[in-house]
């Protein structure tokens, strides 16, 4: 951790309009949950739908994308990353600091609201609220690391990230069983299922596969991002 890098990153991320944009995610989740809680119906399946599909399946990857790329891709795009890199500072420290900021932000804007939404919808029954909260914690961390890496390796990080989250995980994963094995969302579900002990959650990947994969993606993304950042090339505008 480098406190100066963290400070610059937080201000860049939460300052200006992006901070407000991030608030949309918890606001949307809580609003939908409040509406659903007021309605009558099969509460368990409604909770699984909202927390599993809307939250873990859609909002968390999008938030992870905005935050993961926001902590580094914007600086690389506008060139201000030069001021961080032209310093005798190990690159892995820059990356891990930015990752901590990204994970912290994702947790604050996604995991905390998930817990509230879960309690609102279904109380503490069946451990659903806690299960999904833990799932959002681990999936949020993995998304942050993966999208931070994308921000370092490609100028089109947002497009690539959307491609992964929406096309691969949501679309392909819906129709092709094998694709679900390589899906952060499914790994998160596996964690939620085992924490809640509730089969209603349903996951395509066993916990024994999900946890190592979550760890590998998070750690490998961070290592790779550090290596790539150390070799970051500036191209002339001329």
């Amino acid at each position: 951790m480098n406190p100066t890098v963290a400070r610059l990153t937080v201000r860049g991320l939460l300052g200006r309009r992006r901070g407000l944009l991030l608030l949309v995610v918890p606001a949307l989740l809580l609003a939908v949950s409040a509406l659903a809680a007021a309605a009558h119906g099969d509460e368990q399946s409604l909770t699984v739908k909202i927390l599993g599909e809307l939250d873990l399946g859609t909002l968390v990857p999008i938030l992870g994308l905005v935050v993961g790329t926001g902590v580094i891709a914007t600086e690389i795009d506008d060139g201000s990353i030069v001021y961080l890199l032209a310093k005798p500072l190990p690159r892995w420290r820059i990356v891990t600091t930015k990752l901590v900021v990204a994970i912290g932000t994702t947790w604050a804007f996604a995991a905390v609201p998930t817990l509230f939404a879960g309690l609102l919808l279904y109380g503490t029954r069946d451990g659903l609220a806690l299960g999904y909260t833990v799932a959002v914690l681990v999936a949020g961390a993995a998304y942050s690391a993966l999208f931070l890496l994308l921000g370092v390796v490609t100028r089109h990080a947002v497009v690539a990230g959307l491609g992964y989250a929406l096309v691969w995980e949501a679309l392909v994963g819906n129709y092709v069983d094998g694709a679900r094995t390589l899906s952060i969302q499914q790994w998160g579900r596996a964690v939620a299922q085992s924490v809640a002990g509730e089969s209603a959650i349903g996951s395509a990947v066993p916990l024994g596969t999900a946890v190592p994969l979550l760890l590998i993606v998070t750690v490998a993304s961070t290592v790779l991002a550090s290596v790539k950042l150390a070799g970051l090339t500036l191209t002339a505008d001329e």
Partner: protein, 305 residues
Amino acid sequence: MATITIDTVSRWFGNVVAVNDVTMAIGPGITGLLGPNGAGKSTLIHMMSGFLAPSSGSVALDGTPIWRNQQVYRQIGLVPERESMYDHLTGWEFVLANAELHGLAHPGAAARRALDLVEMAEAKDRRTGTYSKGMKQRVKMASALVHDPSVLLLDEPFNGMDPRQRLHLMDLLRRFGADGRTVLFSSHILEEVEQLARHIEVVVAGRHAASGDFRRIRRLMTDRPHRYLVRSSDDRRLAAALIADGSTAGIEVDGRERALRVQAVNFQGFTTLLPRVAREAGIRLYTVSPADESLESVFSYLVSA
């Protein structure tokens, strides 16, 4: 005392060669990197500042390779060409952050000293996003100077500066050069470079075209044959009268342009000769315009020389 050595360096992007087999050493004092836009100046500075790997050859600071070596930044201060610099921070916060990132023992004192040096102490509490181009340039300078580096690299530092800011920055750089620091700045404007640089390196189309003090470069540029386009009341008679004098090397009658293309050997001689000859022969001059005064043609002459 620090020296950057560029040894047989080439850099290509795909099949475009940006820098072609360049060898030069940048030592203490002020060096100007002169060349037209797109000549490869920025590419060279990116390699000297560790933001680009040479495709072949080596770039080193006092014998240590610069690429993938973060420790060089203890000695190097970089003023990039791009303007973005955390617009939401104030000048003070920005320079202070740079001091902290360097791990300085007293970042506050270092930031204050650097801001004083560039005379930005007064505006330090404004957000950098509100600064003028010249002010941004000065704050960027402060951020590069905050750790008291022995090498200062500046990419087109005078771009967009008004004359007063230009003089101020020149003054500042002169002081650094006089301190025995290695200062390198790039520019496409000869006058800027010769006002400031003790030593000039000229790059054109990725190649190292010339090297020397400003007198040598200036001589290379003014001694070249000058070409003029001349229109008069009687082109052929004027051509005959001009070719009789030694200042003229060749004349072509351009029928389509209805003008003379004159190649002069001696710039000074020709400019006094032409009106005199015209007057004596009773010919009226309608147009006299230099045909190749653009910097690019001067540079291309240097390259072929």
